[in-house]
Subunit: 234 residues, 2 copies
């Protein structure tokens, strides 16, 4: 995916990818080589390809490769085509960085949504998660990452400029910070809060607490502490 003139985040990602490459490719090579020896190069290549995906280890990659083998040709080529379609047809929304196939994404285009509220997320994928709740009817802004000094990622590596331009254009009453409940996400929320408040815009942070359906017995101390602090009168 090309993002003309906005190549800082891309540079950060490539740097990260490069630092991960050595150990990765060594593992891939070995797993693929043995499969290739026993059952052919195409199988070895497929296993190595699947191992490039996040959360897919050697065993999962082998299982998936044999599943592709067992599929009708039509179904397997459908998966290959879906990958190509996704890469060829999808881009980032120039307003909010959501994934879209159009000039502007469906959420930014939707006149019925509340244009006075922006929910800030780290990644475009988070937009889908929030949309599933169905309770937020405002708009979004994905800043494409989080501040992580230890990884050399500062505010200038994120898509914060675009967010500030939207806020400066006026009409925004509230910004909801829905960055992750992690040190990075918290740091980013704090940074954004300090940046946005002077513009006279209300800034809120999504709540910490016990996950629904969870058992207090298994919650960590920090979560329980946050749940206590965030208690609400009944």
């Amino acid at each position: 995916m090309e993002r003309g003139g906005q190549d800082r985040t891309a540079a950060v990602k490539e740097r990260e990818a490069a630092s991960r490459t050595p150990s990765h490719s060594r593992t891939h090579g070995k797993a693929g080589a043995q499969a290739a020896e026993v059952s052919g190069k195409a199988l070895g290549g497929m296993i190595e390809a699947f191992m490039r995906l996040p959360g897919i280890g050697r065993k999962s990659a082998e299982r998936l490769a044999y599943a592709i083998l067992g599929m009708p040709m039509e179904e397997a080529s459908g998966i290959a085509q879906a990958i190509l379609d996704l890469k060829n047809n999808s881009r980032y929304c120039p307003i909010c960085n959501n994934i879209t196939e159009d000039a502007v994404c469906s959420i930014c285009r939707d006149e019925k949504r509340d244009a006075t509220r922006i929910c800030v997320v780290e990644e475009p994928s988070n937009i889908l998660i929030l949309e599933k709740t169905g309770i937020f009817r405002g708009r979004y802004h994905a800043i494409m990452g989080a501040i992580a000094p230890i990884d050399g990622i500062g505010p200038e590596d994120l898509k914060i400029d675009g967010l500030m331009e939207r806020l400066k254009a006026g009409g925004i009453k509230e910004v909801i910070l829905a960055t992750n409940p992690t040190v990075k996400g918290e740091t980013t929320a704090l940074y954004l809060s300090k940046l946005i408040k002077p513009h006279g815009i209300s800034v809120s942070r999504i709540a910490y607490g016990l996950p629904v359906g969870g058992d207090i017995e298994y919650a960590d101390e920090n979560t329980v502490q946050r749940a206590l602090e965030g208690r609400r009168e009944m």
Copy 2:
């Protein structure tokens, strides 16, 4: 993958696939539809495509789809190409049913391997697992499934004829039954044992016992019982 004249197993697999389809496609449709609404049809299609793979649920499929989006074009199209290469170039070995790109698989071709021993497995993927141990230097035979009367799969639905032809051709001293340690695998092993022994060939079954690195505390009763029964003098 085409297997001329051997379409009974294929028919069984299609029957199974058909019985799984209704609930599956409903789930796919919903997950893909919401993603398509928020972030475009190509993303929705990719999520649905990944969900057709075994062990990939909605959340994993979403994660994988966004990973494809974040990849360089070259890497993503490499995965698509690997799928097509695998389907176009791989076939079953006509002797043992291992996956191969050649007329006969590398193991059946290898003159240095012990041609007097055949290890019987349920699926071609099991051959790779056994080869990783490096201790078996004979040949294999994948029977493409296991006997499961409850699913309507009898011996006639498996590739047992080919195994028996190899045995009748002579020169085989031992058959190792490495079907799964399940009711189906055990039933199949028992059936094969009764079928093969009259030919004067030694038949053995891989051992049951505690998994290496496991804790006896967490082993189920049946496994502990088998481990006791299979004890060996030290």
